[in-house]
């Protein structure tokens, strides 16, 4: 397969790395913040996994107290900046906004959240949350993704000393390596990491992978507590012939390549790209391929649109960006220049092949059929449903070891859920250490 993007450059976005949804202007934020009704026991707050006091922060925007708005957000969700950009708000806070009921248009909570936090993260010299007096306790956090950094930050503010062990050369986890660049424009992941670490008391050691030079046993021995925010390192396979061919790649690896390419030199994409899968990652990869100049991008999912992990809003976004969505087709075979699908249908809720097939031409195939926990080096930890088992207080079955984020089954695999896991695990660790 030869990778030559062919979409005329005139029809490509000015920069494939530019914001897909631009930040709000102050005037937009003023108008939108004034739509918020300042609800009591607001439905939007109940729908936010981190429980941000949404009416309070929006009112602060309306009164010109932008710093207060940002502090309100960040006090519950230290990654409020990323969440304002990437949360599927249409299924979370904005779905619950009471403005939907009479007007069919929620308050743009996510964009307002970004508006408030951007100002603080870019402009404020001092970190908004001071550290408590040192407790002398040391906590190891494995993984510097949303769960790990959220946990580390909360522990640091509570006065503990935190060492974060990160396998990759940069911090941020999926924020840095896994989210489409058009959601995290202008190196936001690294700016946010710098902001979070600005609290002090957190050391990050890069190139430290659990199982390589790091063992759970040693961590338990050397630290007062251990938090595992490992994420999901492994990708599910299609298990069909041709999966090893050149041009066939995990969508997460593709996005990582795009994210890490030097600015101005985005990686080449195919002329015809087929993405397999129906979740956020599939959508991100498809839109990104299109924005990088692919002529045809087809996203193929084996079930229907209602069953997709991607929200209707994301599906529509992909279509607006020029991605073709094909449903009820399962991949069977990847050939030299095409991929063959079998049409499927749902029979009493179970998927069944119809025997009918078709072939899509493809010089690049991106697989986004789910991720899974890489369970090596987790000896002694009990798993549940393929993830690390934890109790209500995020304690694993091993003493002194907590876990949260995508590697546990706390909720949906969302950034915002991971931030919440990290925060609650930190509070749990803190009460254990203060006992």
């Amino acid at each position: 397969m030869t990778l030559i993007a062919t979409l005329p450059t005139e029809d490509r976005p000015a920069s494939p790395y530019a914001d897909l949804t631009p930040p709000m202007t102050p005037v937009q934020a003023l108008a939108e913040s004034n739509r918020c009704l300042f609800c009591y026991d607001a439905p939007c707050v109940r729908a936010c996994p981190t429980g941000i006091d949404i009416p309070a922060f929006i009112r602060s925007i309306a009164t010109g107290n932008l710093k207060g708005a940002a502090t309100t957000i960040l006090s519950e969700n230290i990654m409020g900046g990323t969440c304002g950009r990437v949360c599927p708000t249409e299924t979370l806070c904005e779905q619950s906004c009471v403005r939907n009921r009479a007007e069919d248009r929620p308050v743009a909570i996510g964009r307002l959240q970004r508006h408030a936090t951007d100002r603080l993260i870019d402009g404020e010299p001092a970190h908004p949350f001071p550290r408590a007096a040192s407790t002398g306790k040391r906590v190891a956090v494995v993984g510097s993704g949303p769960a790990g950094l959220s946990c580390a930050h909360r522990l640091a503010t509570l006065g503990h000393d935190v060492t974060v062990f990160e396998a990759k050369p940069k911090s941020g986890g999926l924020n840095e390596y896994g989210l489409a660049p058009y959601k995290m424009a202008d190196d936001f992941a690294q700016r946010e990491v710098a902001f979070i670490l600005g609290v002090g008391g957190i050391t990050v050691e890069h190139g430290r992978r659990l199982g390589a030079d790091l063992s759970l046993e040693a961590l338990r021995r050397d630290f007062d507590a251990v938090f595992l925010g490992l994420g999901l390192g492994g990708n599910n396979r299609l298990n069909i012939p041709g999966e090893e061919r050149a041009g066939v790649e995990d969508a997460t690896a593709f996005i990582e390549r795009v994210r890490q390419a030097p600015p101005g030199q985005p990686p080449a994409v195919g002329r015809s790209v087929v993405v397999i899968g129906g979740g956020n990652t599939a959508i991100d990869a498809a839109i990104q391929a299109k924005r990088l100049g692919a002529e045809d991008v087809t996203l193929v999912y084996r079930r229907g649109r209602a069953q997709m992990g991607a929200t209707p809003w994301e599906q529509e976004l992909a279509q607006t960006e020029g991605v073709v969505l094909k449903t009820f087709a399962a991949p069977k075979d990847i050939g030299a220049d095409g991929i063959t699908f079998e049409r499927t249908r749902l029979v009493d809720g179970t998927l069944a092949g119809t025997g009918e097939t078709f072939t899509l031409q493809a010089d690049m195939v991106l697989k986004a059929v789910g991720q899974k926990l890489s369970a090596e080096a987790l000896d002694g930890l009990q798993l549940a449903g393929g993830k690390i088992a934890v109790d209500d207080a995020y304690r694993t079955t091993l003493a002194k070891v907590w876990a949260g984020g995508d590697c546990v089954g706390s909720g949906e695999d969302l950034t915002v859920q991971s931030v919440q896991d990290g925060k609650l695990a930190a509070l749990s660790i803190h009460s254990h250490l203060s006992a």
């Binding site: 003023l30 108008a31 913040s33 004034n34 009704l37 300042f38 609800c39 009591y40 026991d41 607001a42 439905p43 309306a62 009164t63 009471v98 403005r99 009921r101 009479a102």
Partner: protein, 427 residues
């Protein structure tokens, strides 16, 4: 279609919407634009004796809502800063070009008969329809013994009105200041002196805002600010009350009233008329949106009058006056309760929290299907109206009177009143 033509103090205009004496009526250019836009009349920007006054730079301050809607405007401008003769020539020309519109000219002078009489005669020569005496400006001019410095002293109101009445055959409207203890005192003074009408209110004395960087009241003039005149939507309630007081007081009843203060929509105008005004004057609304707003004022008033069956403004004017009473004349036995329409409710919870925090803990929350259900507990509800006002959805919370079959009993006669006058006319 309703007939909107209006006559006050013998001055006729095709509709009751006049522009108040202020920047919108400062010169020919503005007034011609206003008449072309449909305004029924103008009160020309206040004229004084030459030499003209000199204004400072930076003149207006604003009271804005968080979404930058103008709630109130304040100004520290003085009267017309153009030569008297230029104004008079323009008045002659505009009146000639728009003979069907009301052309009233506002005057202000020091406390001397020759000053007032001289100005009145000059205006009479222009062919204008009438005079308005500016006894209200609460800033700048009052420091020179004019404006509210006169309007706040009933004897001076009476004196000035007499001087002008003696000097001219034109109808004289006396414009009252709200910056007094009791509006009736100045209204009665004007009436005693033979005023053909009163107009009210002029602006309310105010500091509208403080610039927190320069630490000075706005508008800031080189680091300092002064108190100014407040107007716009926020002052309407003050004006309505004063209009009603004059309309229902036995000594002033029947004195024609030109209602001014915060008129922004046809509905505001209808309210002024209902409380006894014969027409209305508008300043801030025009300064906020331009002259075109008069179209909806005229159309809205006309449509509403048709809907209600009023054919002329006379039928409407004063209709609510008999229902304005003192608190002591209210029925202590009346009881009304809030009722929430669950079909309109959008689940914001505001009614609950305001009643809970600041009123009578009368709105209960139950968990419904995927949303909360709000219900008024009748035993606790005192019928204060708070919830119905703050609910974001119109008509979602209504106030429903209870059928308690109790007689109309006022506080002086109420058994709960320890100072009750023993009922002489007990049945």
């Amino acid at each position: 279609m309703a007939d909107l033509s209006s006559t006050i103090a013998g001055i006729r205009s095709p509709n009751p919407f006049w522009l108040a004496s202020a920047p919108p009526t400062d010169k020919l250019t503005n007034v011609v634009r206003a008449f072309k836009a449909g305004w029924g009349g103008v009160v020309w920007k206040t004229l004084g004796e030459d030499p003209p006054v000199v204004n400072v730079s930076s003149r207006y301050g604003a009271h804005l809502d968080t979404d930058r809607r103008l709630i109130g405007l304040n100004n520290i401008e003085l009267i017309s800063d153009r030569p008297l003769d230029v104004n008079l020539q323009e008045i002659i020309q505009v009146k000639r070009d728009f003979p069907d519109r009301a052309m009233v000219v506002s005057l202000m002078a020091r406390m001397a008969e020759e000053a007032w009489a001289g100005l009145a005669r000059k205006v009479e020569a222009t062919g204008a329809d009438g005079l308005e005496l500016n006894l209200g400006c609460p800033h700048g001019m009052c420091e020179r013994g004019m404006g509210s410095a006169i309007g706040q002293v009933p004897e001076m109101v009476e004196q000035v009105t007499r001087w002008v009445k003696n000097a001219t055959r034109m109808p004289v409207i006396v414009k009252l200041t709200p910056n007094i203890t009791n509006i009736l005192w100045s209204a009665e003074a004007a009436k005693r002196a033979g005023a053909d009408a009163v107009s009210l209110i002029n602006t309310v004395n105010s500091i509208v805002a403080v610039d927190l960087d320069s630490m000075a009241p706005t508008p800031v003039v080189d680091g300092k600010g002064s108190h100014g005149g407040y107007c716009g939507p926020a002052v309407k309630p003050i004006a309505l009350n004063m209009v009603a007081e004059i309309a229902r007081n036995p000594d002033t009843r029947g004195l024609p009233i030109s209602g001014i203060g915060g008129v922004t929509t046809w509905r505001d105008a209808a309210e002024f008329l209902a409380l006894g005004a014969t027409n209305v004057q508008v300043c801030t609304a025009a300064m906020t949106y331009g002259f075109k707003i008069v179209e909806d004022m005229i159309g809205g008033l006309s449509n509403w009058m048709d809907e209600k069956g009023y054919q002329t403004l006379d039928q409407l004017s004063g209709r609510a006056v008999c229902n304005v009473v003192n608190w002591n004349d209210l029925n202590m036995n009346f009881s009304t309760k809030a009722v929430i329409d669950p079909a309109l409710c959008i689940d914001c919870g505001r009614c609950h929290i305001v009643c809970e925090d600041t009123s009578h803990q009368a709105i209960r929350i139950d968990q419904g299907e995927g949303r909360r259900v709000f219900t008024v507990v009748n035993e606790e509800c005192v019928g204060c109206n708070l919830c119905s006002h703050i609910c974001p959805v119109p008509d979602c919370i209504t106030m429903v009177p209870e059928q308690n079959n109790l007689p109309y009993v006022t506080w002086p006669n109420d058994a709960r009143n320890p100072m009750r006058v023993p009922e002489a006319a007990a049945e």
